[in-house]
Symmetry: C2
Subunit: 223 residues, 2 copies
């Protein structure tokens, strides 16, 4: 597992930065359920308890990991019109969340937003206010967009098994389970059988469709 440090070589000294970045990498590779303080320390070539010098506990470790994810999201560029700017940050969010699938359910929930999360929030609110939305409408517009973006990411993450093998296994098993009652679910058969199962199902296009539906709807509500 990992690469065990040769005892002769001195290990890179720990730091909050290094601990967090390694934790993110580990979660990217193996998912967050399998991320333990002990394995993380191991990956760093350190004793399990060394982590606690740099991070108070696992909860705040995850807070820090989430803020790293926030820092990778491109804020709405100032020079673009509001819809294009929002599309850009939406796409960037989706892309980043696909790189860090473990983070999807955790972005909104942290009670302690980090600096990157705060900065992004500020940039988005500013973009909407400058576009002419009232304070009340800015809140609404922000809320719909984020609900959609994070909800879509949740679907996408959850519905795409990690490996092709997983996918085949799941598909086959569902067939087994429901084959005898398929007649009761004509619409499911029509939709799943006819379209979703096609390999070319394109999440990016689907994401854009819903996003533009929302952005166009909002455009009429500016002051």
């Amino acid at each position: 597992m990992g690469r065990p440090e040769p005892a002769t070589e001195t290990r890179a000294p720990l730091s909050k930065e290094l601990v967090l970045r390694t934790a993110v990498a580990l979660a990217d590779r193996h998912g967050i359920e399998s991320l333990s303080m002990r394995k993380l320390a191991d990956e760093l070539g350190a004793g399990a308890m060394s982590l606690y010098y740099h991070v108070p506990n696992k909860e705040e470790l995850i807070d820090g990991m989430v803020d790293i994810v926030f820092s990778e999201i491109e804020p709405p560029p100032l020079e673009l019109d509001w819809k294009t700017a929002m599309r850009r940050r939406a796409h960037s969010t989706r892309e980043v969340l696909n790189r860090h699938r473990w983070a999807v359910g955790l972005m909104e929930g942290r009670m302690k937003p980090g600096p990157a999360g705060i900065r992004l929030r500020e940039a988005i609110l500013g973009c909407l206010r400058r576009a002419g939305f009232s304070i009340e409408m800015t809140i609404q517009a922000y809320s719909v967009q984020d609900a959609y973006i994070y909800g879509f990411a949740l679907q996408e993450t959850d519905m795409s098994p990690e490996t092709a093998d997983d996918f085949a296994a799941v598909a086959e098993q569902q067939m087994d389970t429901y084959t005898d009652v398929l007649a009761d679910f004509p619409n499911l058969v029509e939709v799943v059988g006819g379209h979703v199962a096609r390999a070319g199902y394109d999440y990016a296009t689907e994401f854009l469709f819903g996003l533009d539906l929302i952005l166009e709807g909002l455009d009429g509500l500016r002051g």
Copy 2:
């Protein structure tokens, strides 16, 4: 904790039903992170290992719990026009998810959908097809709505601390942390300070706003 069974009284016999329903109640009360096989068995007055006769493992326990949640969601009523029917099921979903906050992140992800989840899916697809949407548009329309509904529930669950004390603590702490740099976040100050912090912030209204934005947008795209 709970009510320890008096040794004289014979305990209700276990069953998959009872195990699942007790697990849901426990998760409702204490969150899903604190739900362990051992505590669940304890609550049932049984030994920890008794559960494994009724449920193969924790993963499938949770699958079963999620399907109970699905079973509580009202499907789109057949006799209503499509938008009203969809609004009904959307509200029902939000309400059920507020009763079972632990479930929000788990509804879409389970690789083994249960019967209730399947039935609900079928009903929604049927409603959209009857409304005149093409197969392709049905998929899109379904996807936008669910992304929004589950994304909104995610925000709402995550942003509402369990207790008023939690809320106060978080608010105060955020103030402490960012007071010195508040000048850098004028839009955040304006929006949070001016509106969101007001006690009367109404999630139901906000939910409806975004939902109708989407439904109206979709209405123009029927065949």
